[in-house]
Symmetry: C2
Subunit: 310 residues, 2 copies
Amino acid sequence: MKYIFGVDLGGTTVKMGLFNESGEVLEKWEIKTVKDNNGSQILPDIAASINKKVAEKNLIKEDVIGVGIGAPGPIDDDGNIYGAPNLGWGTFNVSKTLSDLTGFKVKTGNDANVAALGEMWMGGGKGYNSIVMVTLGTGVGGGVIIDGKIVAGAKGAGGEIGHIFMDENETETCGCGKKGCLEQYGSATGVVRLAKRRLEKDDKPSILRNKDINCKVVWDAVKEGDEVAIDIANEFGKILGRGLGIIACVVNPQAFVIGGGVSKAGTIILDYIVDNFKETTFRGCKDTDFKLATLGNDAGIYGAAKLVID
Amino acid sequence: MKYIFGVDLGGTTVKMGLFNESGEVLEKWEIKTVKDNNGSQILPDIAASINKKVAEKNLIKEDVIGVGIGAPGPIDDDGNIYGAPNLGWGTFNVSKTLSDLTGFKVKTGNDANVAALGEMWMGGGKGYNSIVMVTLGTGVGGGVIIDGKIVAGAKGAGGEIGHIFMDENETETCGCGKKGCLEQYGSATGVVRLAKRRLEKDDKPSILRNKDINCKVVWDAVKEGDEVAIDIANEFGKILGRGLGIIACVVNPQAFVIGGGVSKAGTIILDYIVDNFKETTFRGCKDTDFKLATLGNDAGIYGAAKLVID
Protein backbone atom coordinates (compact mmCIF):
# COMPACT_ATOMS: atom_id res chain seq x y z
CA MET A 1 0.00 0.00 0.00
CA LYS A 2 1.24 3.48 -0.90
CA TYR A 3 0.61 6.66 1.06
CA ILE A 4 -0.06 10.32 0.34
CA PHE A 5 0.08 13.39 2.56
CA GLY A 6 -2.71 15.92 2.05
CA VAL A 7 -2.07 19.38 3.48
CA ASP A 8 -4.59 22.22 3.79
CA LEU A 9 -2.73 25.40 4.65
CA GLY A 10 -4.95 28.01 6.29
CA GLY A 11 -4.28 31.35 7.93
CA THR A 12 -4.55 29.95 11.46
CA THR A 13 -3.90 26.21 11.27
CA VAL A 14 -2.45 23.70 8.86
CA LYS A 15 -4.67 20.63 8.53
CA MET A 16 -2.85 17.49 7.55
CA GLY A 17 -3.92 13.99 6.62
CA LEU A 18 -2.22 10.71 5.79
CA PHE A 19 -4.13 8.90 3.04
CA ASN A 20 -3.88 5.64 1.23
CA GLU A 21 -4.37 5.43 -2.52
CA SER A 22 -8.02 4.42 -2.16
CA GLY A 23 -8.78 7.75 -0.57
CA GLU A 24 -9.06 6.55 3.03
CA VAL A 25 -7.73 9.00 5.57
CA LEU A 26 -5.64 7.00 8.05
CA GLU A 27 -4.73 9.86 10.36
CA LYS A 28 -5.56 13.54 10.67
CA TRP A 29 -3.74 16.18 12.67
CA GLU A 30 -3.12 19.93 12.76
CA ILE A 31 -0.24 22.27 13.39
CA LYS A 32 -0.27 26.01 13.93
CA THR A 33 0.37 28.37 11.02
CA VAL A 34 3.27 30.54 12.21
CA LYS A 35 3.10 33.71 10.20
CA ASP A 36 6.14 35.52 11.66
CA ASN A 37 8.90 36.69 9.30
CA ASN A 38 6.62 36.75 6.27
CA GLY A 39 5.55 33.18 6.84
CA SER A 40 9.05 31.86 6.22
CA GLN A 41 8.58 29.14 8.83
CA ILE A 42 5.36 27.72 7.39
CA LEU A 43 6.75 25.28 4.84
CA PRO A 44 9.65 24.13 7.09
CA ASP A 45 7.07 23.43 9.85
CA ILE A 46 4.94 21.42 7.43
CA ALA A 47 7.98 19.50 6.20
CA ALA A 48 9.05 18.73 9.78
CA SER A 49 5.56 17.44 10.62
CA ILE A 50 5.53 15.22 7.53
CA ASN A 51 9.02 13.89 8.21
CA LYS A 52 8.06 13.19 11.82
CA LYS A 53 5.00 11.22 10.66
CA VAL A 54 7.12 9.27 8.17
CA ALA A 55 9.51 8.29 10.98
CA GLU A 56 6.67 7.53 13.44
CA LYS A 57 4.99 5.21 10.91
CA ASN A 58 8.28 3.63 9.80
CA LEU A 59 7.49 4.57 6.21
CA ILE A 60 10.22 4.35 3.64
CA LYS A 61 10.51 6.98 0.91
CA GLU A 62 9.15 4.58 -1.72
CA ASP A 63 5.95 4.07 0.28
CA VAL A 64 5.02 7.71 -0.18
CA ILE A 65 3.64 8.86 -3.54
CA GLY A 66 3.98 12.49 -2.57
CA VAL A 67 2.57 15.51 -0.80
CA GLY A 68 -0.35 17.61 -2.00
CA ILE A 69 -0.96 21.04 -0.58
CA GLY A 70 -3.71 23.61 -0.92
CA ALA A 71 -2.79 27.20 -0.09
CA PRO A 72 -4.72 30.47 0.03
CA GLY A 73 -3.68 32.42 -3.04
CA PRO A 74 -3.56 32.29 -6.83
CA ILE A 75 -1.50 29.26 -7.81
CA ASP A 76 -0.81 28.00 -11.32
CA ASP A 77 -0.41 24.45 -12.59
CA ASP A 78 3.35 24.53 -11.98
CA GLY A 79 2.99 25.32 -8.27
CA ASN A 80 3.83 29.03 -8.46
CA ILE A 81 1.93 31.12 -5.93
CA TYR A 82 1.35 34.75 -6.95
CA GLY A 83 1.37 36.22 -3.46
CA ALA A 84 -0.61 35.21 -0.35
CA PRO A 85 -1.06 38.34 1.78
CA ASN A 86 -2.77 36.22 4.46
CA LEU A 87 0.45 34.34 5.05
CA GLY A 88 2.88 37.14 4.31
CA TRP A 89 4.02 35.31 1.18
CA GLY A 90 5.20 36.84 -2.07
CA THR A 91 5.63 35.03 -5.38
CA PHE A 92 7.56 31.75 -5.38
CA ASN A 93 7.24 28.08 -6.26
CA VAL A 94 5.57 26.25 -3.37
CA SER A 95 5.93 22.79 -4.91
CA LYS A 96 9.65 23.12 -5.42
CA THR A 97 10.29 24.59 -1.97
CA LEU A 98 8.33 21.93 -0.11
CA SER A 99 9.79 19.19 -2.29
CA ASP A 100 13.31 20.35 -1.44
CA LEU A 101 12.38 20.28 2.26
CA THR A 102 10.78 16.82 2.26
CA GLY A 103 12.39 14.93 -0.62
CA PHE A 104 8.90 14.02 -1.85
CA LYS A 105 7.08 14.94 -5.03
CA VAL A 106 4.82 17.91 -4.21
CA LYS A 107 1.80 19.30 -6.02
CA THR A 108 0.22 22.61 -5.03
CA GLY A 109 -3.16 24.13 -5.73
CA ASN A 110 -5.32 27.01 -4.61
CA ASP A 111 -7.21 26.01 -1.45
CA ALA A 112 -10.68 26.49 -2.95
CA ASN A 113 -9.74 24.58 -6.11
CA VAL A 114 -8.22 21.79 -4.06
CA ALA A 115 -11.33 21.53 -1.87
CA ALA A 116 -13.36 21.20 -5.08
CA LEU A 117 -11.15 18.32 -6.17
CA GLY A 118 -11.64 16.70 -2.77
CA GLU A 119 -15.43 16.95 -2.99
CA MET A 120 -15.34 15.44 -6.47
CA TRP A 121 -13.13 12.59 -5.32
CA MET A 122 -14.78 11.59 -2.06
CA GLY A 123 -17.55 14.07 -1.27
CA GLY A 124 -20.72 15.56 -2.71
CA GLY A 125 -19.35 15.37 -6.24
CA LYS A 126 -18.39 11.69 -6.10
CA GLY A 127 -19.17 9.94 -9.37
CA TYR A 128 -18.75 13.08 -11.50
CA ASN A 129 -15.58 14.19 -13.25
CA SER A 130 -16.61 17.75 -14.18
CA ILE A 131 -17.99 19.90 -11.40
CA VAL A 132 -18.01 23.45 -10.20
CA MET A 133 -17.70 23.69 -6.44
CA VAL A 134 -19.16 26.79 -4.85
CA THR A 135 -18.09 27.56 -1.30
CA LEU A 136 -20.47 29.96 0.42
CA GLY A 137 -18.48 30.96 3.48
CA THR A 138 -17.32 34.34 4.79
CA GLY A 139 -16.68 34.99 1.11
CA VAL A 140 -17.62 32.99 -1.97
CA GLY A 141 -14.92 30.72 -3.31
CA GLY A 142 -15.02 28.31 -6.15
CA GLY A 143 -13.24 25.56 -7.94
CA VAL A 144 -13.72 24.38 -11.50
CA ILE A 145 -12.87 20.74 -12.23
CA ILE A 146 -12.97 19.55 -15.84
CA ASP A 147 -12.31 15.91 -16.66
CA GLY A 148 -10.99 15.36 -13.15
CA LYS A 149 -8.48 18.20 -13.36
CA ILE A 150 -8.46 21.60 -11.66
CA VAL A 151 -8.78 24.58 -14.00
CA ALA A 152 -6.13 26.67 -12.24
CA GLY A 153 -6.10 29.44 -14.83
CA ALA A 154 -3.29 31.39 -16.46
CA LYS A 155 -2.54 33.31 -13.26
CA GLY A 156 -4.18 31.00 -10.75
CA ALA A 157 -7.48 32.89 -10.90
CA GLY A 158 -9.57 30.00 -12.25
CA GLY A 159 -12.70 29.49 -10.15
CA GLU A 160 -12.63 32.99 -8.63
CA ILE A 161 -16.37 33.01 -8.99
CA GLY A 162 -16.98 35.12 -5.89
CA HIS A 163 -15.91 38.12 -7.94
CA ILE A 164 -18.20 37.66 -10.87
CA PHE A 165 -19.77 41.04 -11.54
CA MET A 166 -23.51 40.75 -10.90
CA ASP A 167 -25.04 44.15 -10.19
CA GLU A 168 -24.02 47.55 -11.48
CA ASN A 169 -26.41 49.26 -9.06
CA GLU A 170 -24.64 47.96 -5.96
CA THR A 171 -23.53 50.81 -3.69
CA GLU A 172 -21.46 48.89 -1.12
CA THR A 173 -17.90 47.75 -1.80
CA CYS A 174 -16.74 44.13 -1.89
CA GLY A 175 -13.55 43.06 -0.11
CA CYS A 176 -11.86 43.06 -3.51
CA GLY A 177 -12.53 46.76 -4.02
CA LYS A 178 -15.20 46.38 -6.72
CA LYS A 179 -18.94 46.79 -6.28
CA GLY A 180 -21.52 44.16 -7.20
CA CYS A 181 -19.54 40.91 -6.82
CA LEU A 182 -21.42 37.61 -6.41
CA GLU A 183 -19.79 37.28 -3.00
CA GLN A 184 -21.71 40.32 -1.77
CA TYR A 185 -24.95 38.35 -2.06
CA GLY A 186 -24.06 34.67 -1.79
CA SER A 187 -21.69 34.56 1.19
CA ALA A 188 -22.70 34.33 4.85
CA THR A 189 -21.85 38.02 5.17
CA GLY A 190 -23.82 38.62 1.99
CA VAL A 191 -26.93 36.97 3.43
CA VAL A 192 -26.64 39.18 6.53
CA ARG A 193 -26.25 42.24 4.30
CA LEU A 194 -29.33 41.29 2.27
CA ALA A 195 -31.22 40.70 5.51
CA LYS A 196 -30.38 44.11 6.94
CA ARG A 197 -31.31 45.75 3.66
CA ARG A 198 -34.66 43.96 3.57
CA LEU A 199 -35.46 44.70 7.21
CA GLU A 200 -34.73 48.40 6.72
CA LYS A 201 -36.97 48.56 3.66
CA ASP A 202 -40.26 48.51 5.58
CA ASP A 203 -41.87 47.56 8.87
CA LYS A 204 -43.32 44.21 7.88
CA PRO A 205 -43.38 41.99 10.98
CA SER A 206 -40.72 39.29 11.09
CA ILE A 207 -39.16 37.02 13.68
CA LEU A 208 -35.86 38.47 12.44
CA ARG A 209 -36.62 41.87 13.95
CA ASN A 210 -34.76 42.61 17.19
CA LYS A 211 -32.58 39.55 16.71
CA ASP A 212 -28.85 39.42 16.19
CA ILE A 213 -28.84 38.61 12.50
CA ASN A 214 -26.52 35.95 11.22
CA CYS A 215 -26.82 33.58 8.34
CA LYS A 216 -28.19 30.69 10.42
CA VAL A 217 -30.85 32.89 12.01
CA VAL A 218 -32.03 33.95 8.56
CA TRP A 219 -32.33 30.40 7.20
CA ASP A 220 -34.01 29.18 10.40
CA ALA A 221 -36.60 31.90 9.85
CA VAL A 222 -37.01 30.82 6.22
CA LYS A 223 -37.71 27.29 7.43
CA GLU A 224 -40.34 28.64 9.81
CA GLY A 225 -42.05 30.37 6.87
CA ASP A 226 -41.21 33.92 7.89
CA GLU A 227 -42.15 36.07 4.88
CA VAL A 228 -39.44 38.64 5.31
CA ALA A 229 -36.84 35.88 5.60
CA ILE A 230 -38.27 34.32 2.45
CA ASP A 231 -37.80 37.63 0.63
CA ILE A 232 -34.16 37.53 1.66
CA ALA A 233 -33.80 33.93 0.51
CA ASN A 234 -35.39 34.87 -2.82
CA GLU A 235 -32.89 37.67 -3.35
CA PHE A 236 -30.01 35.35 -2.39
CA GLY A 237 -31.32 32.66 -4.74
CA LYS A 238 -31.94 35.08 -7.59
CA ILE A 239 -28.37 36.33 -7.71
CA LEU A 240 -26.73 33.00 -6.96
CA GLY A 241 -28.94 31.13 -9.43
CA ARG A 242 -28.09 33.62 -12.15
CA GLY A 243 -24.40 33.55 -11.33
CA LEU A 244 -24.28 29.77 -11.54
CA GLY A 245 -26.39 29.93 -14.70
CA ILE A 246 -23.68 32.06 -16.28
CA ILE A 247 -20.93 29.71 -15.14
CA ALA A 248 -22.84 26.80 -16.68
CA CYS A 249 -22.81 28.59 -20.07
CA VAL A 250 -19.02 28.73 -19.88
CA VAL A 251 -18.04 25.20 -18.79
CA ASN A 252 -21.34 23.23 -18.64
CA PRO A 253 -20.37 21.06 -15.64
CA GLN A 254 -22.16 17.83 -14.76
CA ALA A 255 -22.93 19.23 -11.32
CA PHE A 256 -22.58 22.14 -8.97
CA VAL A 257 -21.47 21.16 -5.48
CA ILE A 258 -22.42 23.74 -2.87
CA GLY A 259 -20.46 23.94 0.36
CA GLY A 260 -19.32 26.39 3.03
CA GLY A 261 -21.09 27.72 6.10
CA VAL A 262 -24.21 28.91 4.28
CA SER A 263 -24.82 25.38 2.96
CA LYS A 264 -25.24 24.11 6.53
CA ALA A 265 -28.82 25.32 6.21
CA GLY A 266 -29.31 22.24 4.03
CA THR A 267 -31.10 21.51 0.79
CA ILE A 268 -33.49 24.43 1.36
CA ILE A 269 -30.85 26.74 -0.13
CA LEU A 270 -31.01 24.72 -3.34
CA ASP A 271 -34.78 25.38 -3.54
CA TYR A 272 -33.97 29.06 -3.87
CA ILE A 273 -31.01 28.68 -6.21
CA VAL A 274 -32.13 26.07 -8.73
CA ASP A 275 -35.32 27.73 -10.03
CA ASN A 276 -33.43 30.92 -10.80
CA PHE A 277 -30.68 28.88 -12.37
CA LYS A 278 -33.06 27.09 -14.71
CA GLU A 279 -34.80 30.31 -15.63
CA THR A 280 -31.69 32.18 -16.72
CA THR A 281 -29.18 29.63 -17.99
CA PHE A 282 -28.83 28.27 -21.52
CA ARG A 283 -31.38 25.54 -22.28
CA GLY A 284 -28.64 22.91 -22.73
CA CYS A 285 -27.50 23.51 -19.15
CA LYS A 286 -30.86 23.39 -17.37
CA ASP A 287 -30.46 19.80 -16.20
CA THR A 288 -27.17 20.38 -14.39
CA ASP A 289 -27.23 18.54 -11.05
CA PHE A 290 -26.98 20.35 -7.73
CA LYS A 291 -25.43 18.64 -4.71
CA LEU A 292 -24.40 19.71 -1.24
CA ALA A 293 -20.79 19.25 -0.21
CA THR A 294 -20.23 16.52 2.38
CA LEU A 295 -16.59 16.70 3.48
CA GLY A 296 -16.80 19.99 5.40
CA ASN A 297 -13.40 21.15 6.61
CA ASP A 298 -11.76 17.95 5.40
CA ALA A 299 -12.35 18.73 1.69
CA GLY A 300 -8.97 20.45 1.54
CA ILE A 301 -6.87 17.53 2.74
CA TYR A 302 -8.78 15.10 0.52
CA GLY A 303 -8.28 17.27 -2.53
CA ALA A 304 -4.63 17.85 -1.71
CA ALA A 305 -4.05 14.09 -1.57
CA LYS A 306 -5.91 13.64 -4.86
CA LEU A 307 -3.66 16.26 -6.50
CA VAL A 308 -0.73 13.88 -6.13
CA ILE A 309 -2.55 10.75 -7.27
CA ASP A 310 -3.52 12.31 -10.59
CA MET B 1 4.30 12.64 -43.90
CA LYS B 2 0.87 11.90 -42.45
CA TYR B 3 -2.40 13.57 -43.41
CA ILE B 4 -5.57 14.72 -41.69
CA PHE B 5 -8.96 15.72 -43.06
CA GLY B 6 -10.58 18.73 -41.41
CA VAL B 7 -14.32 19.13 -42.02
CA ASP B 8 -16.46 22.14 -41.12
CA LEU B 9 -20.09 21.20 -41.50
CA GLY B 10 -22.38 24.19 -41.98
CA GLY B 11 -26.03 24.57 -42.84
CA THR B 12 -25.34 25.44 -46.50
CA THR B 13 -21.91 24.07 -47.35
CA VAL B 14 -19.39 21.64 -45.97
CA LYS B 15 -15.88 23.08 -45.99
CA MET B 16 -13.14 20.51 -46.20
CA GLY B 17 -9.36 20.64 -45.97
CA LEU B 18 -6.51 18.20 -46.31
CA PHE B 19 -3.77 19.00 -43.80
CA ASN B 20 -0.36 17.69 -42.92
CA GLU B 21 0.69 17.20 -39.32
CA SER B 22 2.45 20.56 -39.18
CA GLY B 23 -0.86 22.30 -39.74
CA GLU B 24 -0.36 23.24 -43.38
CA VAL B 25 -3.51 23.07 -45.45
CA LEU B 26 -2.60 21.31 -48.70
CA GLU B 27 -6.00 21.55 -50.36
CA LYS B 28 -9.36 23.11 -49.60
CA TRP B 29 -12.69 22.38 -51.20
CA GLU B 30 -16.42 22.52 -50.48
CA ILE B 31 -19.46 20.36 -51.05
CA LYS B 32 -23.12 21.22 -50.66
CA THR B 33 -24.94 20.36 -47.44
CA VAL B 34 -27.92 18.29 -48.60
CA LYS B 35 -30.51 18.53 -45.87
CA ASP B 36 -33.24 16.36 -47.41
CA ASN B 37 -34.55 13.37 -45.42
CA ASN B 38 -33.47 14.81 -42.08
CA GLY B 39 -29.92 15.30 -43.29
CA SER B 40 -29.40 11.57 -43.73
CA GLN B 41 -27.20 12.14 -46.79
CA ILE B 42 -24.79 14.59 -45.13
CA LEU B 43 -22.30 12.18 -43.60
CA PRO B 44 -22.35 9.76 -46.59
CA ASP B 45 -21.62 12.78 -48.87
CA ILE B 46 -18.71 13.82 -46.66
CA ALA B 47 -17.39 10.26 -46.57
CA ALA B 48 -17.62 9.98 -50.36
CA SER B 49 -15.71 13.26 -50.78
CA ILE B 50 -12.99 12.09 -48.40
CA ASN B 51 -12.70 8.71 -50.06
CA LYS B 52 -12.51 10.37 -53.47
CA LYS B 53 -9.68 12.61 -52.26
CA VAL B 54 -7.84 9.62 -50.78
CA ALA B 55 -8.02 7.87 -54.16
CA GLU B 56 -7.10 11.02 -56.12
CA LYS B 57 -4.00 11.54 -53.97
CA ASN B 58 -3.07 7.85 -53.96
CA LEU B 59 -3.06 7.89 -50.16
CA ILE B 60 -3.02 4.60 -48.30
CA LYS B 61 -5.03 4.16 -45.11
CA GLU B 62 -1.92 4.34 -42.94
CA ASP B 63 -1.06 7.79 -44.34
CA VAL B 64 -4.20 9.27 -42.83
CA ILE B 65 -4.30 9.97 -39.08
CA GLY B 66 -8.02 10.58 -39.19
CA VAL B 67 -10.90 12.94 -39.83
CA GLY B 68 -11.95 15.80 -37.60
CA ILE B 69 -15.35 17.40 -37.98
CA GLY B 70 -17.05 20.41 -36.48
CA ALA B 71 -20.86 20.42 -36.55
CA PRO B 72 -23.53 22.90 -35.48
CA GLY B 73 -25.03 21.52 -32.27
CA PRO B 74 -24.18 20.46 -28.75
CA ILE B 75 -21.60 17.67 -28.96
CA ASP B 76 -19.88 15.90 -26.10
CA ASP B 77 -16.35 14.54 -25.85
CA ASP B 78 -17.44 11.14 -27.14
CA GLY B 79 -18.84 12.54 -30.40
CA ASN B 80 -22.53 12.41 -29.48
CA ILE B 81 -24.57 15.24 -30.98
CA TYR B 82 -27.67 16.21 -29.00
CA GLY B 83 -29.76 17.33 -31.94
CA ALA B 84 -28.93 19.79 -34.75
CA PRO B 85 -32.23 21.33 -35.92
CA ASN B 86 -30.32 23.21 -38.64
CA LEU B 87 -29.44 19.93 -40.32
CA GLY B 88 -32.54 17.97 -39.38
CA TRP B 89 -30.45 15.77 -37.10
CA GLY B 90 -31.54 14.14 -33.86
CA THR B 91 -29.28 12.56 -31.26
CA PHE B 92 -26.62 10.11 -32.45
CA ASN B 93 -22.89 9.51 -32.47
CA VAL B 94 -21.33 11.47 -35.33
CA SER B 95 -17.83 10.09 -34.81
CA LYS B 96 -18.92 6.48 -34.96
CA THR B 97 -21.16 7.00 -38.00
CA LEU B 98 -18.53 8.83 -40.04
CA SER B 99 -15.85 6.39 -38.94
CA ASP B 100 -17.96 3.46 -40.15
CA LEU B 101 -18.40 5.24 -43.50
CA THR B 102 -14.72 6.11 -44.04
CA GLY B 103 -12.76 3.52 -42.08
CA PHE B 104 -10.80 6.36 -40.46
CA LYS B 105 -10.61 7.49 -36.85
CA VAL B 106 -13.06 10.39 -36.45
CA LYS B 107 -13.28 13.11 -33.78
CA THR B 108 -16.24 15.46 -33.60
CA GLY B 109 -16.73 18.79 -31.89
CA ASN B 110 -19.18 21.67 -31.81
CA ASP B 111 -18.40 24.07 -34.68
CA ALA B 112 -17.73 27.09 -32.45
CA ASN B 113 -15.51 25.05 -30.13
CA VAL B 114 -13.63 23.58 -33.06
CA ALA B 115 -13.07 27.05 -34.57
CA ALA B 116 -11.63 28.10 -31.21
CA LEU B 117 -9.21 25.19 -31.33
CA GLY B 118 -8.23 26.19 -34.88
CA GLU B 119 -7.51 29.78 -33.84
CA MET B 120 -5.40 28.53 -30.94
CA TRP B 121 -3.47 26.18 -33.19
CA MET B 122 -2.74 28.37 -36.19
CA GLY B 123 -4.58 31.68 -35.77
CA GLY B 124 -4.92 34.61 -33.39
CA GLY B 125 -4.37 32.37 -30.37
CA LYS B 126 -1.14 30.80 -31.61
CA GLY B 127 1.36 30.38 -28.79
CA TYR B 128 -1.31 30.03 -26.09
CA ASN B 129 -2.79 26.80 -24.78
CA SER B 130 -5.73 28.23 -22.79
CA ILE B 131 -7.99 30.65 -24.62
CA VAL B 132 -11.59 31.66 -24.87
CA MET B 133 -12.64 32.35 -28.43
CA VAL B 134 -15.54 34.76 -28.87
CA THR B 135 -17.25 34.78 -32.25
CA LEU B 136 -19.27 37.94 -32.78
CA GLY B 137 -21.33 37.02 -35.83
CA THR B 138 -25.08 36.92 -36.45
CA GLY B 139 -25.13 35.52 -32.91
CA VAL B 140 -22.38 35.22 -30.33
CA GLY B 141 -20.62 31.87 -30.18
CA GLY B 142 -17.74 30.78 -28.09
CA GLY B 143 -15.21 28.10 -27.43
CA VAL B 144 -13.26 27.44 -24.25
CA ILE B 145 -9.89 25.75 -24.64
CA ILE B 146 -8.01 24.70 -21.50
CA ASP B 147 -4.55 23.17 -21.77
CA GLY B 148 -5.06 22.70 -25.49
CA LYS B 149 -8.31 20.82 -25.07
CA ILE B 150 -11.88 21.87 -25.86
CA VAL B 151 -14.17 22.16 -22.83
CA ALA B 152 -17.16 20.49 -24.49
CA GLY B 153 -19.27 20.34 -21.34
CA ALA B 154 -21.48 17.65 -19.87
CA LYS B 155 -24.12 18.12 -22.58
CA GLY B 156 -22.02 19.85 -25.21
CA ALA B 157 -22.99 23.31 -23.94
CA GLY B 158 -19.47 24.40 -22.96
CA GLY B 159 -18.61 27.80 -24.46
CA GLU B 160 -22.26 28.79 -25.03
CA ILE B 161 -21.29 32.27 -23.93
CA GLY B 162 -23.76 34.02 -26.22
CA HIS B 163 -26.45 33.08 -23.74
CA ILE B 164 -24.86 34.41 -20.60
CA PHE B 165 -27.57 36.39 -18.81
CA MET B 166 -26.49 40.03 -18.74
CA ASP B 167 -29.47 42.31 -18.24
CA GLU B 168 -32.68 41.69 -16.37
CA ASN B 169 -34.21 44.89 -17.75
CA GLU B 170 -34.03 43.74 -21.36
CA THR B 171 -37.46 43.83 -23.03
CA GLU B 172 -36.67 42.14 -26.35
CA THR B 173 -36.33 38.38 -26.72
CA CYS B 174 -33.17 36.55 -27.77
CA GLY B 175 -33.30 33.77 -30.38
CA CYS B 176 -33.03 31.30 -27.48
CA GLY B 177 -36.27 32.55 -25.94
CA LYS B 178 -34.72 34.31 -22.95
CA LYS B 179 -34.27 38.05 -22.51
CA GLY B 180 -30.95 39.76 -21.77
CA CYS B 181 -28.44 37.35 -23.34
CA LEU B 182 -24.93 38.59 -24.19
CA GLU B 183 -25.70 37.85 -27.84
CA GLN B 184 -28.36 40.57 -27.84
CA TYR B 185 -25.64 43.19 -27.42
CA GLY B 186 -22.42 41.71 -28.76
CA SER B 187 -23.48 40.19 -32.09
CA ALA B 188 -23.75 42.02 -35.41
CA THR B 189 -27.52 42.02 -34.97
CA GLY B 190 -26.97 43.20 -31.41
CA VAL B 191 -24.93 46.19 -32.57
CA VAL B 192 -27.71 47.14 -34.99
CA ARG B 193 -30.27 46.79 -32.19
CA LEU B 194 -28.20 49.01 -29.89
CA ALA B 195 -27.82 51.52 -32.73
CA LYS B 196 -31.55 51.74 -33.37
CA ARG B 197 -32.21 52.11 -29.68
CA ARG B 198 -29.67 54.92 -29.36
CA LEU B 199 -30.91 56.75 -32.46
CA GLU B 200 -34.50 56.65 -31.21
CA LYS B 201 -33.48 58.03 -27.82
CA ASP B 202 -33.01 61.62 -28.99
CA ASP B 203 -32.36 63.84 -32.02
CA LYS B 204 -28.64 64.29 -31.64
CA PRO B 205 -27.12 64.71 -35.13
CA SER B 206 -25.25 61.69 -36.43
CA ILE B 207 -24.00 60.43 -39.76
CA LEU B 208 -25.94 57.28 -38.90
CA ARG B 209 -29.27 59.03 -39.34
CA ASN B 210 -31.07 58.24 -42.59
CA LYS B 211 -28.62 55.46 -43.35
CA ASP B 212 -29.33 51.77 -43.62
CA ILE B 213 -27.84 50.66 -40.35
CA ASN B 214 -25.63 47.60 -40.28
CA CYS B 215 -22.72 46.67 -38.09
CA LYS B 216 -20.06 47.97 -40.50
CA VAL B 217 -21.80 51.32 -40.92
CA VAL B 218 -21.83 51.78 -37.15
CA TRP B 219 -18.13 51.01 -36.70
CA ASP B 220 -17.18 53.19 -39.68
CA ALA B 221 -19.01 56.02 -37.96
CA VAL B 222 -17.17 55.28 -34.72
CA LYS B 223 -13.88 55.56 -36.62
CA GLU B 224 -14.99 58.94 -37.97
CA GLY B 225 -15.62 60.14 -34.42
CA ASP B 226 -19.41 60.30 -34.65
CA GLU B 227 -20.60 60.84 -31.08
CA VAL B 228 -23.80 58.87 -31.38
CA ALA B 229 -21.89 55.95 -32.89
CA ILE B 230 -19.41 56.19 -30.01
CA ASP B 231 -22.32 55.93 -27.55
CA ILE B 232 -23.32 52.72 -29.29
CA ALA B 233 -19.77 51.39 -29.18
CA ASN B 234 -19.60 52.22 -25.48
CA GLU B 235 -22.77 50.26 -24.77
CA PHE B 236 -21.47 47.32 -26.85
CA GLY B 237 -18.13 47.46 -25.03
CA LYS B 238 -19.70 47.77 -21.61
CA ILE B 239 -21.75 44.61 -21.90
CA LEU B 240 -19.15 42.60 -23.78
CA GLY B 241 -16.32 43.70 -21.46
CA ARG B 242 -18.36 42.70 -18.44
CA GLY B 243 -19.36 39.39 -19.96
CA LEU B 244 -15.76 38.49 -20.75
CA GLY B 245 -14.76 39.72 -17.29
CA ILE B 246 -17.13 37.17 -15.81
CA ILE B 247 -15.81 34.39 -18.03
CA ALA B 248 -12.27 35.25 -16.92
CA CYS B 249 -13.29 34.71 -13.26
CA VAL B 250 -14.40 31.19 -14.17
CA VAL B 251 -11.52 29.85 -16.29
CA ASN B 252 -8.88 32.64 -16.26
CA PRO B 253 -7.66 32.06 -19.83
CA GLN B 254 -4.33 33.37 -21.12
CA ALA B 255 -6.14 35.22 -23.87
CA PHE B 256 -9.48 36.06 -25.44
CA VAL B 257 -9.51 35.68 -29.22
CA ILE B 258 -12.23 37.76 -30.85
CA GLY B 259 -13.56 36.74 -34.26
CA GLY B 260 -16.69 36.83 -36.38
CA GLY B 261 -18.13 39.54 -38.60
CA VAL B 262 -18.13 42.27 -35.94
CA SER B 263 -14.37 41.83 -35.47
CA LYS B 264 -13.77 42.87 -39.07
CA ALA B 265 -13.98 46.44 -37.77
CA GLY B 266 -10.50 45.74 -36.37
CA THR B 267 -8.71 46.49 -33.12
CA ILE B 268 -11.00 49.45 -32.46
CA ILE B 269 -13.55 47.02 -31.00
CA LEU B 270 -10.96 45.97 -28.42
CA ASP B 271 -10.60 49.61 -27.31
CA TYR B 272 -14.24 49.49 -26.24
CA ILE B 273 -14.13 46.01 -24.70
CA VAL B 274 -10.87 45.94 -22.77
CA ASP B 275 -11.40 48.95 -20.47
CA ASN B 276 -14.75 47.59 -19.33
CA PHE B 277 -13.18 44.18 -18.91
CA LYS B 278 -10.42 45.50 -16.66
CA GLU B 279 -12.86 47.53 -14.64
CA THR B 280 -15.17 44.69 -13.75
CA THR B 281 -13.13 41.48 -13.69
CA PHE B 282 -11.21 40.00 -10.76
CA ARG B 283 -7.86 41.69 -10.23
CA GLY B 284 -5.94 38.48 -11.00
CA CYS B 285 -7.52 38.42 -14.48
CA LYS B 286 -6.93 42.04 -15.53
CA ASP B 287 -3.84 41.25 -17.61
CA THR B 288 -5.57 38.70 -19.83
CA ASP B 289 -4.49 39.23 -23.45
CA PHE B 290 -6.94 40.18 -26.20
CA LYS B 291 -6.30 39.14 -29.80
CA LEU B 292 -8.27 39.25 -33.01
CA ALA B 293 -8.93 35.99 -34.83
CA THR B 294 -6.99 35.59 -38.07
CA LEU B 295 -8.28 32.45 -39.79
CA GLY B 296 -11.72 33.73 -40.76
CA ASN B 297 -13.89 31.03 -42.30
CA ASP B 298 -11.00 28.56 -42.28
CA ALA B 299 -10.85 28.34 -38.45
CA GLY B 300 -13.28 25.42 -38.55
CA ILE B 301 -11.26 23.17 -40.83
CA TYR B 302 -8.04 23.97 -38.96
CA GLY B 303 -9.62 23.16 -35.62
CA ALA B 304 -11.22 20.01 -36.98
CA ALA B 305 -7.83 18.78 -38.16
CA LYS B 306 -6.29 19.64 -34.79
CA LEU B 307 -9.00 17.58 -33.02
CA VAL B 308 -7.52 14.45 -34.53
CA ILE B 309 -3.88 15.28 -33.87
CA ASP B 310 -4.44 15.68 -30.13
